[in-house]
Amino acid sequence: MPYRAAVVGVGITEATSPRKQTSSTPELCRLATERAIEHAGISPDTIDAIVTGNIDGFEGTVLDGKNITRALGIGDTVPLVVINTGGTTGGNLMQVAARMVRAGTHRRVLCLGGPTFFGSVDLQSAINTNSPMIIEQPLGMGAYHMGAFAASAYQARFGLTPEDLAAVVVADHEKASRNPYAHLRYTVTPEEVLAGRPLASPLTQPMVCPVSTAAIAMVVGDAADADAHSTSPALIKAIGMSADPYLGGGKGDFSEMQNLANLARRVYARADVRDPLDDFDAVEVFAPYAHMQPMQLEALGFAAPGGGVDLIRSGVTDIGGKLPVNMSGGPKCTNGGVSGELAPYAYAALQVMGDAPPDIQVPGARRTLAHGTGGSFFQFENLAVFETLTRSN
């Protein structure tokens, strides 16, 4: 007796830095929830479960969903599920919610991603604790140090240049400048990117994501209720996760994302996607570091190995191109932790609903791909395919 699930409402708050943020975590979460419920056109008391995420080591609290979700204005007895899978937490929220609806145990589930990094003093130190404790931890490995392994390997194998990385950053910022919810809404030049503070070769500070504060909420409901909503829901056509927990020593090649490629094959088969470049109208990938976007586009079948940068440079991934990618500006320009991880799902769903912010809406988008990733040496991935759900009315 499986059922179908769809995204019926999305709520996003405007992002900024923790220093400039004037709202608290509970206020941001409540605002995102209110916007998602208003977007869906539903009554708040019809939410029958909440799935939220906490990444304890990154936050100044433990399981703060325990109190925050009791004050969202949707009733204080709604069942709560808390997910923590690091960088894939946000995307997994929707996957878990979708399965609750698809199983039939729930009819309307709220996914809530809060501003994970609000209370962090030193994120790199927190991330250091998930690396192997004999060698990597004492070396002080943080997220972008580990991320640079892949950038360096890709550079060595395919001749990636710092200018290539700068081109990715420039494109992301141009897109973010049109997204009213983005954090870094300014454009940059390649020269500014290359002149940025070196972090871990070949990455400079402008090539990595900012620390943002924002919240995102999504309502996942029964697709059978489509006609009753104020939106054209985004059918969740196919979902999947893949875990590659092998640490650095066990990974054969950092220059390609085999785990993501494996997952893509599995999810595409479920969605009957045969030619990704033709079959998708827009894509949102979780690429907080500049080298990740071309590598992910390759793993997802949009370009041959080593061809990701050329795809981006060609304009194919810009709005008006054949495959608009990260019209939101992506996590390179807005990364609020769990909210940033949920963002690709939110924006990809909004595209097929026709409700993305006007300046980033891809006209006529009917099938989109959302991606989430997490980890450092290990890699977790998740994907979802959305399609416009045709209403009978």
Binding site: G41, T77, I83, G87, R102, A103, G104, T105, R107, A243
Partner: protein, 377 residues
């Protein structure tokens, strides 16, 4: 915009899910093992019991918490041990009862044929029992709201004591009657392989144990242990080709309680259990009452309220001794289910059991409750 939609229609039928494997590690005060070692031991044994291999899994769901495992994103460490390599896998920060429910939902949705849920609990600290308790209470305090509740020292144990005190003040219960209940639970479980309080206890023993917070004494609180428990689930069709045990989950319910400001966690602490039980029993449909039940009452002051909320007064309740005999923290939900499965072993087809679990992170505040209705298949 359309007018807001009212209450969603009644819940729909949910496909049954079978339990084909279940296994646990030993339960110790402190395991000399990493979380992934415990997870692997339990999952490997549970899969083997069902005649399955890692390649058969469609989903792995782990229940654990980073702060207990002493590393960020500890699921990166445990996923492979849970069979999640190159597969769907995620981690719930909560009780293993929720992991079982999430895995069951994935099977019921038709997305996977076989799933495993595993709870692991081995707080990364060492020292005396008192040291370990202090560590758990410190983490509990960090899970409370930071501006009001943390500064006044709210912890899980504080909520239990506040409720127990209210219970004594408003009913005919007193410290002695609570001690008799605790002693009965401990004695019932004593001598069983999974008991960590291995010797029978009297009410006098309970009252002689260390006072914690009036009216609670140490032996009135859960018997903290460490270990891992894995449950393997399968669709009915796939279960038909599995070896080992077979039981069927016919109902599942999950509820979360209100926060501190509501106050009903003191005056009506069984409310979340009542909601979860109502959902689970509604899904299970009409049938004979449960013949066995494993409920998780963190103190004797909660026992009667939970029995009433679950409607299991006529069942054999806590043959294992319940959480006063063994409480492996976040793995408790899976252990309670394992105890029910063992008790249903050999029972007539259709004989019903109830498994009830609560998380102990913030005690009775925002308490997560899971209820599973299980039938012998």
């Amino acid at each position: 915009m359309h007018a807001p939609i009212g209450n969603p229609p009644a819940r729909r039928p949910v496909a049954p899910v079978h339990i084909v494997g279940a296994a646990a590690t030993a339960f110790l005060p402190e395991h000399d093992a990493m979380p992934d070692e415990l997870v692997f031991a339990a999952v490997h044994q549970a899969l083997r019991e069902a005649g399955l291999r890692q390649q058969d899994l469609g989903l792995s769901v782990t229940a654990s918490m980073d702060v207990l495992d002493a590393r960020s994103i500890s699921s990166g460490l445990t996923n492979a041990a849970a069979g999640g390599y190159l597969r769907d896998a995620f981690r719930i920060e909560g009780d293993a009862g929720l992991a079982v429910i999430a895995a069951a939902e994935a099977v019921a949705s038709g997305d996977v044929e076989v799933a495993v849920a595993v709870g692991v609990h081995n707080p990364e600290t060492t020292g005396t029992t008192r040291d370990r308790q202090a560590f758990l209470q410190q983490i509990s305090n960090l899970a409370f709201e930071p501006h009001v509740d943390r500064p006044v020292g709210m912890t899980a144990t504080a909520t239990y004591a506040l409720q127990a005190a209210h219970h004594v003040a408003t009913t005919e219960a007193d410290a002695e009657s609570l001690a008799r209940l605790a002693a009965a639970e401990i004695s019932r479980g004593s001598g069983r392989a999974r008991a960590v309080r291995g010797a029978p206890a009297t009410a006098a023993d309970v009252l002689a144990s260390a006072p914690v917070s009036w009216p609670l004494h140490e032996l009135m609180l859960p018997a903290e242990s460490t270990g891992a428990v894995a449950i393997v689930l399968a669709s009915p069709a796939r279960a038909g080709r599995c070896l080992g045990r077979d039981a069927r989950i016919t109902g599942l319910g999950h509820a979360t309680g209100r926060y501190t400001w509501a106050g009903d966690w003191i005056s009506d602490p069984a409310a979340p259990t009542r909601r979860a039980a109502a959902d689970a029993l509604a899904l299970a449909g009409p049938g004979d009452g449960a013949v066995v039940a494993e409920l998780s009452a963190p103190t004797p002051a909660l026992h009667a309220a939970y029995v009433d909320a679950l409607g299991c007064a006529d069942a054999v309740v806590n043959a294992s001794g319940g959480v006063l005999s063994n409480f492996p923290g976040l793995a408790n939900g899976a252990l309670r289910l394992l105890e029910v499965l063992d008790q249903l072993d050999g029972a007539a087809v259709g004989a019903r059991g109830l498994s009830h679990s609560v998380d102990s992170i913030t005690g009775l505040v925002s308490q997560d409750v899971s209820v599973l209705v299980v039938e012998a298949a």
